[in-house]
């Protein structure tokens, strides 16, 4: 009876153990919830070439914690605790690796900053040099401008002097021609010594005044001359008119022969109709026989100069 009961007990135990084993085989144990995600995060860190070696101690701690978290554990609270710890260790390792990477990058940034500062200083020095050169160039330009201004002033002074000289020369020549200013312009009177009685040809040896007039008109090309012939009242009016015209024309031709452009000269006869003295006396008739040259400025010309 005792032996039989012992055998029965052993059979029951064996059956229970077998059942337990079978039950164990039926549902394979799984890793604690969350452990795979933590492992994946750690694997990513270890596979990151930029970070893998940056925080070796923290990464090793994380590895140990993840390994612990992966242990199949019937106590779910303990398993969850280990996963929690592993997760924080992995995050800590990642943060430390990134910090180290940032610190390593700082050396490069510092080098960049030094280079930028050096470039800036070099650039400023170049600018200063360039500014100095520009200032020197400007100073030289100003000196040239000042010299030019002085030169211009001297030239203006010279021109003024020349102009004064010319004006005074003109005045002198006009005085030499014995021209008188009138409302019609400067009037030069050539007396009857130019022509023989009743003739219109200019007598040789009596042309001194005409020559001076020709020179004057050549010297002052902005001047024009109106040549007018006059006679006394001896003879017929028609013949006197014709004679006065011919005499005026003779003077005009003479001046053209002296180089004065014809378009600057005009001639006309006034006959006996504009006496300046009494035709009843010899002296008066002599004054009335004359040629007047009215000198005026050409249109659009200014001043007395050429």
């Amino acid at each position: 009876m005792n032996i039989h009961s012992t055998m029965m007990s052993r059979s029951l135990i064996a059956a229970a153990v077998t059942a337990a084993l079978l039950a164990g085989c039926a549902s394979a144990p799984t890793k604690p919830a969350g452990s795979e995600e933590v492992r994946a995060k750690l694997t990513a860190l270890q596979g990151d070439a930029a970070l893998a070696t940056k925080a070796p101690v923290a990464t090793k701690d994380a590895e140990l914690a993840v390994t612990q978290a992966e242990i199949i554990q019937p106590d779910l609270a303990l398993a969850a605790h280990r996963v929690y710890i592993a997760d924080r260790k992995v995050d800590t390792a990642i943060a430390e690796a990134k910090t180290k990477a940032a610190e390593d990058q700082r050396a490069m940034l510092s080098e960049q900053g030094e280079k930028a500062r050096l470039d800036a200083r070099t650039h400023e020095a170049d600018l200063a040099k360039s500014d100095a050169m520009t200032a020197r160039a400007e100073s030289a330009e100003q000196q040239v401008a000042a010299t030019q201004a002085r030169s211009d002033a001297a030239a203006a002074q010279l021109a003024a002097n020349v102009s004064e000289q010319q004006a005074s020369e003109l005045q002198r020549q006009l005085e030499a021609l014995q021209a008188r200013p009138t409302d019609r312009g400067l009037v030069l009177t050539l007396g009857d010594t130019l022509f023989a009685t009743g003739k219109s040809e200019i007598k040789s040896g009596a042309t001194a005044n005409l020559d001076r007039l020709g020179d004057f008109l050549t010297e002052y090309p902005n001047r024009t001359a109106s040549i007018e012939g006059f006679t006394d009242s001896m003879g017929s009016e028609d013949s006197n008119q014709a004679l006065s015209e011919r005499r005026a024309d003779s003077v005009k031709r003479y001046l053209i022969g002296r180089g004065v452009q014809s378009q600057r000269l005009s001639s006309s006869g006034r006959g006996e109709n504009a006496p300046v003295a009494d035709n009843e006396t010899t002296a008066g008739r002599q004054q009335n026989r004359r040629v007047e040259v009215v000198i005026s400025k050409a249109e659009g010309s200014q001043g007395a100069g050429r």
Binding site: R88, D91, A116, S130
Partner: protein, 133 residues
């Protein structure tokens, strides 16, 4: 009087060893010790995190660490010493993460400042170059 047999002497000697051990084991099982070391380590880590200004750069982690240490102390009060130990360890891990993330934030800020400074310098130089050309 009869002297005890040798087998009886052996039995008594075994009993003298076994009883205290059993008592000790029972006492330990019935009342686990306070996880003093874990609690102290966690508090030290939190103090470190506060010292490096984790409240500014890793506020969530520091807050979580404080909540964990608080929960650990509550567990001690409730005589849940194993749970208290786990919570203290979690508080420490959280506080260490706060320190690490604070260091990272500071390092990134320094780098960003340097990058900005370099960029400003380069911009300024290029602007001057543009002005002068």
């Amino acid at each position: 009087m009869n002297s005890p047999s040798p087998s009886a002497r052996v039995s008594r000697r075994r009993l003298r060893i076994a009883v205290p051990a059993l008592l000790l084991f029972t006492a330990a099982w019935a009342n686990p010790p306070i996880p003093t070391a874990s609690l102290q380590a966690a508090q030290q880590s939190i103090a470190n995190a506060e010292h490096v200004e984790a409240g500014t750069h890793a506020a969530a982690e520091l807050s979580e660490a404080r909540a964990k240490i608080s929960a650990a102390q509550s567990a001690v009060t409730q005589k849940k010493m194993i749970e208290a130990g786990w919570l203290a360890d979690e508080a420490r891990a959280e506080a260490e993460l706060a320190v690490a993330r604070t260091s990272l934030a500071k390092a990134n800020a320094v780098n960003a400042d340097m990058e900005h400074s370099n960029a400003t310098l380069i911009d300024e130089m290029q602007r001057k170059t543009g002005d002068s050309r």
